[in-house]
């Protein structure tokens, strides 16, 4: 009996030691996460309640004034939010659509499929600054390829010089940049759809569209959710692309939330910029939540 207790105790000690060792593995990641994410996030929250300019030794607590200012008395901020929503909607719709179309055509293995996938994926591996410079030259109204192409149809544009359309031209660049990346997520989703389900639906007389709508689309819902969530986040973080294309600071027609926050920081309004950053996070979380709901609603209801 005493021997058994001793064995149990030894086993317990060994188990506890093993758990401690396993737990120790999480420490480096946890330390980095706390240092570079949790603490800065909490500090941002604190700064957002002050009028700190980013360098001076003193500051005042201003309560929610920074948030009130951003939401009610700063047309530059509301303009950036509006631009960002336009940008997001266009990118979300077209990037998802193009990525899905490419994936539908390329998810089966055939001769040249790997090459084509690589080709469409290629823009993703470029740095955003390179992409910005490539498109900056395409959009040059006098020397750029853009007007050469439009010239075939007898029209021309000043592209980024037109305040009404500039943000949409940048959205096109963003779609070109990331559609290939989203395509790979859809391809993974499509390749996991069981072939027998598609064949069964075909045997039951379903056409190609019906098969896609009732079998494939519901089966790739998780992939769609990932694509839309990721696209949403990318659309709000298109900071370097905007600065590369539009310069720093960008004109108000191309100013989005991230560039506005940056400009506010550069303008020595650290506390106010922190409040804008917190609103930025809230907007992204809210939109991601909404997108997930929308994706859920597009799925056919399961009959019980």
């Amino acid at each position: 009996m005493a021997g058994m207790t001793k064995t149990k105790r030894r086993a317990r000690r060994a188990y506890r030691k093993e758990r401690l060792v396993l737990l120790a593995f999480t420490v480096p990641a946890l330390a980095l996460y706390i240092s570079f994410f949790i603490i800065p996030a909490l500090q941002s929250l604190q700064y957002s309640l002050t009028n700190w300019n980013g360098y001076s030794a003193t500051f005042d607590w201003v309560g929610l004034d920074n948030f009130t200012r951003a939401l009610t008395n700063d047309s530059l901020f509301t303009n950036a939010v509006t631009n960002n929503l336009k940008f997001w909607l266009i990118v979300l719709a077209f990037q998802t659509l193009f990525a899905l179309m490419l994936a539908v055509f390329l998810f089966r293995n055939f001769k040249g499929s790997a090459l084509l996938r690589g080709l469409f994926f290629f823009p993703t591996i470029l740095s955003s600054v390179s992409v910005a410079y490539i498109w900056k030259f395409i959009y040059d109204p006098n020397y750029g390829l853009g007007n050469d192409i439009l010239g075939i149809f007898g029209i021309s544009s000043s592209f980024l010089g037109n305040d009404d359309t500039a943000i949409y031209w940048i959205a096109i660049t963003q779609v070109w940049f990331h559609a290939g990346q989203m395509m790979t997520i859809f391809i993974a989703g499509l390749q996991s759809v069981p072939q027998e389900m598609i064949e069964a639906a075909a045997v039951d007389g379903a056409g190609r569209w019906q098969v896609f709508k009732n079998v494939t689309w519901p089966m790739i819902a998780p992939a769609t959710s990932i694509v839309m969530a990721y696209t949403t986040i990318q659309s709000f973080k298109a900071f370097d692309l905007i600065l590369g294309l539009a310069g720093n600071p960008p004109k108000s027609s191309m100013d989005i939330m991230s560039t506005r926050i940056y400009t506010t920081f550069a303008n020595s309004q650290y506390g106010y910029a922190s409040a804008q950053a917190i609103l930025f996070v809230i907007v992204i979380v809210a939109l991601n939540f909404a997108v997930r709901r929308i994706v859920g609603l597009t799925q056919p209801k399961t009959e019980s």
Binding site: Q46, S158, F159, L160, T263, A266
Partner: protein, 448 residues
């Protein structure tokens, strides 16, 4: 089972709770306290500046120069010219190593303060005249150079921005003319024997250039920073006082006032003389247009002469500012700016070496060499230039020019609103509407 309870959910939650509480406390360190501050609990974050020592309290001795320093600036195009000077410096101070930390100008405008304050770069650093220099001074980032007497090596009238309360904190090194540069061959073909000094003769010259089938002005209206240089000239003779931009920011003047609207209407008159779709043109294509002779003027400034030469321009280059005044009424014929304000960082661990480099740059022979290599005038006294472009345009140093007014703005959003109105007018908006929209932004900024 007790064995499994060693790290139960409860235990993990307890650990997480302690972690979060600790993190929260750590995060609650007051703004500005990262450099040794001691918050007083009343919203004052303590001494967040530079460890509490008064900047410049120690004396600088270039003879002690040794070790490595960083020279932070934004002039990528001057990299080679500075590298040459650094090599020469090492002949005098063999133990000195200087690394140039170059950031593109727009990013430098945004990031320099944070980077220099951390002390990782910029033992010697440059600041833009205006908002950036003001901020650097406010942040106590500049060592007081008064006792070194280095300011005596500079033209006093050009370095006043770096002299604050009797202290020499920074020395603007470059003298830039923020006005259009011209292809003199084209101007001659257009019959410009004398440079126009009123608005009507200016428009008449632009007509003549257009008659040659050449775009009169290449203007980078797609880029706020460079597009705004023209604003300097357009406003110089219209403002009710020379400090008109500072007064706009203070709320004394409004961009909806008649004089500002008149300037916007002049922009409207220039639309046919800019390249097509000018509001979408970045600075590189505008430079190319000028260098290749497709445009008679480049509406940026003398700082683009060297880069235009690098693009292959072989014609004689001059300068011509649009004078928005009737004949005989112009107060100024152009705009200058004393910028690239050099200062020794107060957080530098090697200020003697940083000062040695500054002192070396302030030598008339070295300053002249820098001017020749970069086709830029300098503010150092007794400098002789051999660069043809500088010799050719040196008469501008004596002309009646206004210190660039756009740099009077300390709030960049206000500056962008005022200058953005000009771009919007060229893009087709009415002057009244553009001014009203800009004033709304300015009012909001002033109110906060």
């Amino acid at each position: 089972m007790a064995l499994n309870n060693a790290f139960t959910r409860r235990r993990i939650l307890q650990l997480a709770g302690v972690g979060v509480a600790g993190t929260t406390l750590a995060a609650c360190a007051g703004p500005g306290a990262s450099n040794g501050g001691d918050g007083d609990g009343n919203g004052n974050g303590g001494d967040g500046g530079n460890g509490g020592e008064e900047p410049g309290s120690g004396s600088l001795d270039p003879s002690l120069a040794a070790g490595a320093i960083s020279f932070a600036h934004w002039r990528g195009e001057d990299n080679e010219a500075f590298a040459k000077i650094i090599e020469q410096l090492k002949e005098t101070y063999p133990d000195v190593e200087v690394r140039q930390d170059i950031t593109p100008s727009n990013d430098y405008q945004s990031n320099a303060l944070a980077q220099i304050r951390q002390g990782t770069v910029g033992d010697l650093f440059a600041s833009f005249r205006g908002a950036q220099l003001t901020t650097m001074i406010d942040a106590d980032l500049l060592v007081d150079l008064t006792d070194t007497g280095i300011a005596d090596k500079y033209e006093a009238s050009l370095v006043s921005e770096g002299l604050v309360d009797g202290k020499t904190l920074a020395l603007p090194y470059q003298l830039v003319f923020n006005q259009p540069i011209t292809n003199e061959e084209i101007l001659e073909q257009a019959g410009a024997s004398e440079l126009p000094e009123d608005w009507d003769s200016y428009l008449s010259l632009l007509d003549s250039i257009q008659g040659l089938g050449i775009t009169p002005i290449a203007w980078p209206g797609g880029e706020m920073g460079n597009a705004g240089q023209l604003f300097n000239c357009m406003i110089m003779n219209l403002g009710p006082s020379d400090d008109m931009c500072a007064r706009i920011e203070a709320g004394d003047l409004k961009v909806t006032d008649d004089w500002f609207l008149e300037m916007l209407r002049h922009y409207q008159e220039l639309i046919p003389y800019f390249q097509q779709n000018a509001t979408g043109t970045a600075v590189e294509p505008a430079q190319q247009m000028f260098a290749s002779g497709d445009a008679a003027m480049l509406a940026t400034g003398s700082y683009h002469i060297a880069s235009t030469r690098a693009l292959g321009a072989t014609f004689p280059i001059g300068m011509l500012a649009p004078v928005t005044a009737a004949a005989g009424e112009a107060k100024y014929v152009g705009v200058h700016n004393a910028t690239f304000a050099l200062g020794v960082s107060s957080v530098s661990e090697n200020p003697d070496t940083a000062f040695a480099l500054l002192d070396f740059l302030s030598d008339p022979a070295i300053a002249g060499q820098y001017g020749d290599d970069t086709a830029q005038f300098v503010t150092v006294k007794d400098v002789e230039y051999t660069n043809e472009d500088l010799s050719h345009t040196s008469d501008w140093v004596q002309k009646e020019t206004l210190l660039a007014p756009r740099f009077q703005f300390n709030n960049l959003d206000i500056r962008n609103a005022a200058e953005g109105a000009c771009i919007e007018v060229v893009g087709g908006k009415s002057p009244e509407q553009a001014a009203e929209d800009a004033q709304q932004i300015i009012d909001q900024q002033i109110g906060n």
